[in-house]
């Protein structure tokens, strides 16, 4: 069936070309010889020719209107980059505005929490004193010496454990400024109450006990609590004759020199500002390039 169709297609192709005078003289002579002998082939050719005549006789269709061009029609199309320029400009403005707002917000927060940052530090110190004292009291009450032994096992130098353990509570408490402020008096009171026990504190019983669970080896952080509580700081300094000289000078120097300029905001608070600033710059560059695109 397919072969017969293919054969018929070949025959029609020859007949179509014959009608157009597109056969070579040899092909034409051979086809005319076949036509003289084959009536069906002649009928096939005649029906094909009448079809062609009918199509060629189709009347021409006039244009229904004029297709004159106007300058607006032939204006070069606006490139894609140029079409994106308004959106990019808007995005640049939004990004810049957000960046400025976030920057101002951070600065305000830093300005307000600056004094607070100095406050929580001591409060943290006092706060840490409070649990320290309570723990110390518990340690004394329970006569728990296992913690001291553990601390001694962890670091033979007790001084090393004292400063980190002070820093850990400070980092926690300093984030909650009001709480630390509120907790300051009791802490002081507690410190005062535990005053008599400070000798026991120096006895290294509480320090190893507290450093056991959350030991953060950041000596600088430990220096913050000391300034507002000079008594405590000096007490701690005296209690722990640390071989590391750096924490102690910071503990005394920073709060005295710049008590209110310390930035309480962590680095993570400034990362979005930087990111937005970078994004704004990139968007601004893209906007300029988009507007200049032709």
């Amino acid at each position: 069936m397919l072969g017969r169709n293919r054969t018929q297609e070949r025959v029609d192709e020859g007949l179509s070309a014959y009608l157009d005078g597109a056969l070579s003289p040899r092909e034409r002579a051979r086809l005319e010889a076949q036509l003289a002998q084959d009536a069906d082939l002649r009928a096939r050719l005649e029906s094909l020719q009448r079809t062609v005549v009918l199509v060629r006789g189709l009347p021409a269709v006039p244009a229904p209107r004029n297709f004159l061009l106007t300058p607006a029609m032939v204006r070069p199309p606006v490139p894609m980059a140029r079409r994106l320029a308004p959106a990019l400009t808007f995005a640049t403005a939004v990004s810049g505005l957000l960046c400025v707002l976030l920057l101002v917000g951070n600065l305000i927060s830093a300005g307000w929490s600056g004094p607070g940052a100095a406050a929580p530090a001591p409060m943290g110190a006092s706060g840490e004193d409070t649990p320290e004292m309570s723990l110390m009291a518990q340690g004394e009450e329970d006569g728990d010496t296992q913690a001291a032994e553990a601390g001694a096992k962890q670091s033979p130098l007790l001084e090393m454990t004292v400063t980190p353990e002070e820093s850990a509570p400070e980092m926690i408490w300093s984030e909650d400024v009001p709480h630390s402020l509120e907790s300051a008096p009791p802490a002081l009171g507690g410190g005062g109450a535990a005053g008599p026990d400070q000798g026991g504190e120096r006895g290294t019983a509480p320090e190893p006990f507290f450093t056991g669970p959350e030991q953060s080896p950041l000596p600088t952080a430990t220096s913050r609590p000391t300034p507002p509580m000079p008594d405590e700081a000096t007490a701690a300094a005296v209690a722990t004759p640390s071989p590391l000289p750096s924490p102690e000078p910071e503990a005394t120097a920073i709060p005295v020199e710049f008590p209110g300029e310390e930035t309480a905001l962590p680095l993570t608070s400034w990362l979005p500002v930087g990111g937005l600033a970078l994004m704004t710059v990139v968007l601004a560059v893209l906007s300029i390039r988009a507007w200049r695109a032709r």
């Binding site: 029609d12 179509s16 269709v61 297709f67």
Partner: protein, 206 residues
Amino acid sequence: MVAAAQRGDLDAFNELVLAYQDRVYNLAYRILGDPAAAEDATQEAFIAAYRHLSTFRGGSFLSWLMRTVANRCYDELRRHKRHPAVSWESFGEMDEDANPFLVNGHPTPEEATQQAELTRFLQSAIVTLPPDQRVVLVLSDVEGMNYQEIADTVGIPVGTVKSRLARARARLRDLLQAQRELLPRVYRLEDEDGYAGEKPNPGASR
């Protein structure tokens, strides 16, 4: 005029538009089979021709223009897989006033009616052809291009033009024979009295 248009003279190009818009629209209409689509294709073809005038390297501007139109229509057919604007079933239901062919000639009312029926029938048959065959058939039997011109216009070998044209004609013939009862008697491919039409005269019909 073409040279002036190539220098960017829009008025000069519009002179060319006025001179060739009937040919361009007729070609687009015969290929697409839809007046609105043909209008769009014609306008877009003139715009494209103006923008790409720098690619015209001389020769026949009409051939270059017709090539632009044919390619645009061909792309349109391939992009939208355009179906026939009219179907065989709707052949007898077409609006007489919508037939643009009635405006031509001054035949008798009966002849005009028969010719109108025939042209509608033929056009509806043409648009049932596959796009590649339709374009070649229109360029050959409506526009009168030879095989080489069609090959240059469509961008296919001459042998492909030959085979596509033969298939298009044969398919159109089969359609006309299948719907012979719808045709006016004078236009039927086979004469019922045994007359098979005029004797073929190869090459003379072009």
